[in-house]
């Protein structure tokens, strides 16, 4: 009831002076119609704070926590919390909130993070012990005093999620299911009031570009194919963010075509990845490499040079492995069989488009690649059953073990890589992680299980009056909302 009243008052205030409110309002298009809910963490970050986040160099930077220590094996972390962070209702944020949240997320009914043990040392100190060495950086913390009496079994249905009480830079003003969430600045935010006074997340499904062009939203995530249209429109700026992940083609190593590492290297040499970036409207400076990267390595721009686009070199390698175009039909042959395979492409991420370009590039090298697009769920079934030849999908640095570790679906069996990945599970020391990733990358130079076609990237479109975004590490409006501001000189 009180909440209703509060909403009513807020509505009046909004109504009282809509024109001036518009000036520092940012409207962002979001696709999903039920975005405000726990575990959709990009947006959680507007209202709730994590213990620490990664800064531009990929290092941890305190948020709720101002200092921390960890045990030698990185399994136990002790955090000392800031004392100046308060929930919107005025209560201070304490170690009990952290413990409560971790217990809650480990509850069998929710089962998001089982196996984490937290102990409250004192009001502002909490000790977290996990079974695996790890800093958990994608958890935000919820107020214990408001939630402890609620039933975890109904976690996803709590009214709290539609009227949250948070501690982040913004607080929820109103939530209209299927339409929008409106946030206003949190005047008590510990870093000081953000410059944007009002943030509206508008649910637009797939119509984000239309909404942007018709001036209804200021910021939207885009597709590379939409870049030419936005680039020709002076109202908007384009930002690209990059992530350590990539869009690779994984080879099925057991397949007779790909068993020979020389052939896999030749395939990499056959691909002009600069050209791929150009035709897909991705920024030229995006990382092209054959390595696997940690976030730190990416942000410090530390990555080894890729195997270059080198058609002649590729031809030599193909020939060394026995693949030559003997009958001059444009396709390589060996023992009378053409070099032909089918790539299974996961639906989504626009990967079917990438596949078309790759197909054209390989054709120039005398390799015939057919394309089959699958729904992701079906794709996983096929993958596990070994029913594929090559596989174009997403590579996440977090899934190294799944993709290249023991028992991987590719049949990749490099003992050195297995051992390195096993060592990776035992550590959370960032320097050690960097070293292991570098060693894995070295092995990949001679025995590549995949070819990284494109860097993991996202494109954002923003109205020019929205300032504070930059490529490539501050391009995501959702995670950097508190650092943005609105410049009104350009007008709407």
């Amino acid at each position: 009831m009180l909440q209703m009243l509060a909403l009513g008052i807020a509505g009046c205030r909004h109504g009282g002076d809509p024109a001036s409110a518009r000036g520092s309002t940012l409207v962002m298009a979001v696709p999903d119609a039920s975005v405000l809910k726990p575990d959709e963490w990009d947006l959680d970050f507007l209202t709730f704070l994590p213990l620490a986040t990664r800064n531009e160099q990929g290092e941890l930077e305190g948020r709720l926590a101002q200092r921390w220590q960890h045990s030698a094996d990185f399994k136990e972390w002790t955090y000392h919390l800031r004392t100046d962070v308060h929930w919107d209702d005025g209560r201070p944020v304490t170690a009990r909130d952290v413990k409560f949240t971790l217990d809650l997320l480990g509850h069998p009914a929710i089962a998001a993070y089982p196996g984490i043990n937290a102990t409250v040392v004192d009001d502002v100190t909490v000790r977290i012990r996990a079974a695996k060495p790890h800093y958990i950086d994608d958890i935000v913390y919820y107020p214990e005093h408001l939630l402890r009496s609620l039933d975890p079994g109904k976690f996803w249905e709590w009214a709290f999620w539609t009227h949250p009480v948070g501690n982040g830079p913004f607080r929820v003003l109103r939530y209209l299911p299927d339409r929008l969430i409106e946030f206003e600045t949190n005047p008590g935010y510990y870093k000081g009031r953000p410059r944007i006074e009002r943030v509206i997340l508008k649910f637009v499904g797939e119509a984000s570009l239309t909404e942007l062009l018709s001036g209804n939203v200021d910021v939207a995530r885009g597709e590379p194919s939409q870049v030419p249209r936005i680039a020709s429109d002076r109202r908007f700026s384009i930002y690209n963010s990059v992530a350590p992940g990539a869009y690779p083609i994984y080879w099925k190593i057991e397949h007779p075509l790909f068993r020979d590492p020389r052939v896999r290297r030749a395939l990499v040499h056959s691909l002009d990845r600069r050209e791929l970036l150009r035709v897909l409207n991705l920024p030229e400076e995006a990382p092209i490499t054959d390595a696997v990267l940690t976030l730190r390595q990416l942000r410090r721009r530390e990555w080894p040079e890729p195997l270059l686009y080198d058609p002649a070199g590729a031809r030599t390698l193909y020939a060394a492995a026995g693949w030559v175009d003997r009958n001059r039909d444009g396709v390589l042959e060996k023992d009378g069989r053409p070099f032909r395979f089918t790539v299974s492409v996961g639906n989504g991420f626009g990967l079917e488009k990438v596949a078309v370009y790759v197909q054209a590039q390989l054709r120039r090298a005398g390799v015939q690649m057919d394309i089959r697009v699958f729904d992701e769920s079906v794709m996983w079934d096929k993958l596990r059953a070994g029913d594929f030849e090559a596989w174009l999908y997403v590579h996440q640095p977090t899934s190294l073990r799944r993709d290249f570790g023991r028992g991987n679906p590719l049949g990749y069996a490099n003992p050195a890589v297995f051992e390195l990945i096993d060592r990776l599970q035992q550590t959370a020391d960032p320097n050690e992680e960097d070293r292991i990733y570098r060693k894995i990358s070295d092995v990949f130079q001679t025995d590549p299980p995949m070819v990284r076609l494109l860097p993991g990237s996202r494109v954002w479109f923003a109205h020019r009056r929205i300032r504070g975004l930059s490529s490539p590490f501050r391009a995501s409006a959702d995670t950097h909302m508190e650092d943005l501001w609105v410049e009104d000189a350009t007008g709407r």
Partner: protein, 330 residues
């Protein structure tokens, strides 16, 4: 009358049970594991197989299929559709949020269909073989053939983006809450205009054709000729005699129009980002969100059965020749 309706409702039960069984079997036979999608959505962190097992257990996916089926049927009978894998909220809540939007869209499209379709049909029949008739006949054929989703895209391009006359997506304006009641209504209708037009125009074309043929049939009946012979004006003949009788069969096709519209609504919702049930279903299919897939198809079937029932009852009301005994004229 009440008994007739009750009887029809009772007949619908085995029908719905049949549909439930068919969809359940289909959904579980299909390849793909919902848990894969769950992992992919959260691929920012490495996933514990342990978590997946917990989730599988929680959703009952670890049990043998017949057990799952019996449990599911039992729950559905009590109105519990389970919890969405993807949104992790009760499916009933999700559907309750979405169904009103789909109903708004389809109901208004039906209304549009009736209004425009019948008017054009009557006009066409009255002026048989005239130029108007020919334009309407061919025009309705073409409108029936134009894919709605394509028409929607083109209209958005012209009227929303280039001319800025209509909104491009969503159901209401951002400042909807500040509007007065009549303005709110206008705002809603303004947002509904394009989707309703696109959805309704094809079925209106169908209605126009049907109406024309029926009216022409009736106009050649003896009692109409007799009315004409009595010197009644053409207007009176058509309005009082012919139209009333031609309307009877029209009523029945509205029951049949509903599945057509619901199917079309899936595509239109996609084009206009309309937060209806169709969109929910499409997304659920991609994510293998079993509870949502099952529930949306059940709801769609219920709507169709109800639509048929309403059509039959209206038919019975307007046509005194039908006895309530349940015998239905085809």
């Amino acid at each position: 009358m009440g008994r007739y309706i009750l009887k029809r409702l009772l007949q619908a039960i085995p029908l719905l049970a049949g549909i439930a069984t068919i969809t359940f079997v289909m959904v579980h036979l299909a390849p793909g594991d919902p848990m894969d999608m769950y992992i992919e959505q959260r691929s920012q962190r490495e996933f514990d197989p342990e978590v997946i097992e917990l989730l599988r257990k929680k959703h009952g996916l670890d049990q043998p299929l017949p057990v799952q089926y019996v449990k599911w049927i039992g729950n559905v009978a009590r109105g519990d559709f389970g919890e969405s894998f993807r949104y992790r909220r009760p499916v009933a809540t999700l559907i309750a949020e979405r169904v009103p939007y789909t109903l708004q869209l389809t109901a208004l499209a039906l209304f549009f269909d009736a209004l425009i379709g019948m008017t054009l049909g009557i006009l066409s029949a009255v002026k048989q073989y005239s130029r108007t008739d020919r334009i309407i006949t061919v025009g309705s054929l073409v409108m029936y053939a134009i894919p709605g989703f394509w028409l929607g895209i083109m209209l958005v391009l012209v009227f929303s983006v280039n001319l800025g006359w209509f909104p491009t997506s969503q159901t209401r304006s951002l400042d909807y809450e500040l509007l007065s009641a009549p303005e709110k209504l206008l705002d809603r209708l303004w947002h509904l205009a394009l989707p309703v037009f696109v959805l309704g125009v094809a079925s209106a074309a169908g209605t126009a054709r049907f109406m024309r043929n029926k009216l022409l049939d009736v106009l050649s009946e003896e009692y109409v000729l007799a009315a004409r012979a009595r010197g009644l004006s053409e207007r009176a003949v058509i309005l009082h005699h012919a139209l009333r009788n031609a309307l009877i069969p029209i009523v029945t096709i509205y029951g049949l129009a509903l599945p057509f519209l619901l199917g079309g609504a899936v595509l239109i919702e996609k084009v206009f980002a309309w937060p209806g049930m169709g969109l929910l279903a499409v997304d659920a299919i991609g994510a293998r969100d079993y509870p949502v897939i099952l529930a949306t198809s059940m709801i769609a079937a219920v709507l169709v059965v109800l639509g048929n029932l309403v059509a039959d009852v209206t038919y019975a009301l307007v046509d005194p020749r039908v006895s309530y005994g349940g015998k239905r004229l085809a």
